[in-house]
Subunit: 354 residues, 2 copies
Amino acid sequence: MANNSADKRVTLTDVAKLAGVSKQTVSRVINDSEHVTDETRIKVQQCIEVLGFRPSALARQLSSGRSYTIGVVSCGGLGYLVSGVAYVGMVRQADKMGYALLIKELTDFSPGSVRTMLDYLIERQVDGLIWAGPEMGDSHVWLNDFDLDSLPMPMVVVNARQRGKADTVAFDNFEAGRMATQHLLSLGRKRIGHISGPMSRWVAQLRVAGWQKALDEAGLPECKEYYAEGDWEPGTGGPGLRRLLELCPKLDAVFVGSDRMALGVLHEAHRLGLRVPEDLAVIGVDDAPESAFMIPPLSSMTQDTPAMAERALRLLVRRICERRGEPYPALCAQAEDPVMHHQLVLRESTLGKS
Amino acid sequence: MANNSADKRVTLTDVAKLAGVSKQTVSRVINDSEHVTDETRIKVQQCIEVLGFRPSALARQLSSGRSYTIGVVSCGGLGYLVSGVAYVGMVRQADKMGYALLIKELTDFSPGSVRTMLDYLIERQVDGLIWAGPEMGDSHVWLNDFDLDSLPMPMVVVNARQRGKADTVAFDNFEAGRMATQHLLSLGRKRIGHISGPMSRWVAQLRVAGWQKALDEAGLPECKEYYAEGDWEPGTGGPGLRRLLELCPKLDAVFVGSDRMALGVLHEAHRLGLRVPEDLAVIGVDDAPESAFMIPPLSSMTQDTPAMAERALRLLVRRICERRGEPYPALCAQAEDPVMHHQLVLRESTLGKS
C-alpha cells in the first residue's frame, strides 16, 4: 500500500542508510543479483519492508531495458472521432498484453518535428511505436526515405499508405469504393455520383479511385464528372448532393464517402422531395451505429476501426518479441493479414422496402 | 540523431570506459552537477558526442522525480465513443502543457484491482492522475473512503459524482434533464415522457431526476410514469417510444437521454406516422454532429466532452504545480468552474418549421 506522500517518498538512499550498506547493494537485492550474501539480503529486505520502500518501476526499466510501454503518435487534425475510436481499441489490446500506451499528438510533419517526436519516445524507452494516421497531405512523407533500422524499437504504421519496409495495417479503401459502386451498378443505376472526404486524405483519394475504377469497368466513364468534395461531416452532404444534381440532373445514385455525410445527403434528398432509393440510391462508408436508423436506413460498408487498431498492436508486440528473441504472447501468436477489408451492409437506401 | 539499433544501444558504461572515468562522473556531467572539473566535463562531453550517447529520459526522471507523464485510468465498458472523444481532448491539452499521457483501462472496480492500478501508476512515477469516468454501478465507490492524501500525486476525477475532497470535473446532468423538460413544458406539452440511458450510469440517473423535478415543478407528477430505460444507442430509441405510447397513448413530447437514441425515436415516429413535432416533440442530449441533419433536425443540449477533459487536465496540472510549489503554466493559470453546463440548441423537432 502506498502511504507515503510526495514530501516523504522513501528512496533507495533511505534504505541503504538504515541497512548500513551501499545503494549499489540495495539495488542488487532489488534486482535479485547473485553478488549479495544471504545475511545482507535479509537485512536489506527487512529495511525495505520497515520503510515501505517501493522500488521504482522506472529504475527497474533502466536495468532491464524494457518499459512495457508503447508510444502512440497520433496525426492530429480532422480525424477526431475516428482516432478516438482507434485509441479505445488500442488501449484495450495493450492492456490485455500487459502494455501501457504513451500517447502523443503530432500536427506538424516537418522532418525536424518528426525527429523531435521520435527522439522524445526513444528517450522514454518505449518498447515499440505506433504511428497512427489518418494520413493527410504530407503527414507520412518523412517515412519515404527514413531508415527504420536506425530506430532502437520496431514501429507499426496504422491507417496510411504502405511505404518501403514499414509494417503497415490499413483498410483497402480502393476496394471499398469499387465495391460500393459495383453494388449501385448491380441495381441497374447508370448515373452514379460520388461525394468524397477531403482530397488531402489518402483514404478519400482511394475511395474516389475505386469509384472511378468501377465506372470504367462498367463502361460508364462519363459518370466520373459527377463528383463533389466534402469534409466527412454531415454538413457537406447536402451541398454535395446539390452540386451533383447541377452536374447531372438525372443522377440516380450516389456513393458517399462517409455515413455522416450520407446523413446530410438523405436530409437534403428529403427536403428536395427525392425518394430514396426510387429516385436516388444512396450508400455510405463506416456502417456507423446510426446508419440503420436513418430515414431510410442507410446501406453502407462496415469499417471496424477498433479492430484495425487492435491488429496493429498485436503486430507491434510480435515485432518487439522478435527483436528480443522472446516468445510471442498468445494474443499475437497468429500472423494476421495487415490489409483490412470492408463489407457491404445493405439496407433500404439502396434496396428499398423489403 | 538516433542511429544505434537495439543491439548496440550506447550505455553510460560505454561512455565511462571511453572517458576513463566512473559512471557516477558521467552521470554528474549529464545532470550538470557542480562536483566535476572542467577538464573532466569536456572529456566526458566529447565521449558522449563521439559515441552518440543519448542520456535516458528515464534516468533523468529518476534524479528529478518528475516524469511529465499523466496517468489516465479509463473506466471501461460502454462509454466507448464518448471516452474516445474525451481521450482526444486530453491528449491535445496534455501536449500543449508538455505532458504525455499514460493510458490504462480498468473494468473491475474491486478495491484490490483499483489498488493494483494505483500502484502500477505510482511505480511509473506519473506526476498526476486522471480518473476518467463514466461512473457506472460501483465503479467509483472505492473513492468514498479512500485517503487521497496517501497518493504521492494529485488526482482529478472526470465525469463522476463529487466525493469528499476529490477534485472532480463533470457536467451538471440534473440541470440538463430539467432544462430539456422545461423547454418541452414551455411549448405547452403536458404528457412528457423520458427514455433514459442505462440506470447503472450516474449520468442517466441525474437526467431522469432532472426530468422528474421539472414535472413536479409544473404540477404534472403523473408524467413520471411515462418512462423507459434504453442503452444510449439508436437501437433502443424505437422500443422506448413504443413503450411510452403503451403507457400514454396521447404522449405529446419525449425527452431522450442521448441524441443517438433520439435518432431511433425519430425513425420509429416516422414509421408509426407520427408527425414531429406536431404530434410528438422530441429533444435529445449531446448535440451530436448528426443532430442538425436528422429528419427533422433534432433539438438537443450541447455537451462539450472534449472541453470537460481539457478542463480536467488543466486542473490537474495546477494541482501538480501547487504540490511542488512551482508556478502554473499559462494555460492553467485561471481557476475554472469544475461544473460544466449544457446549453439548449433548438431545432425543428421541438419548434417545427420556421
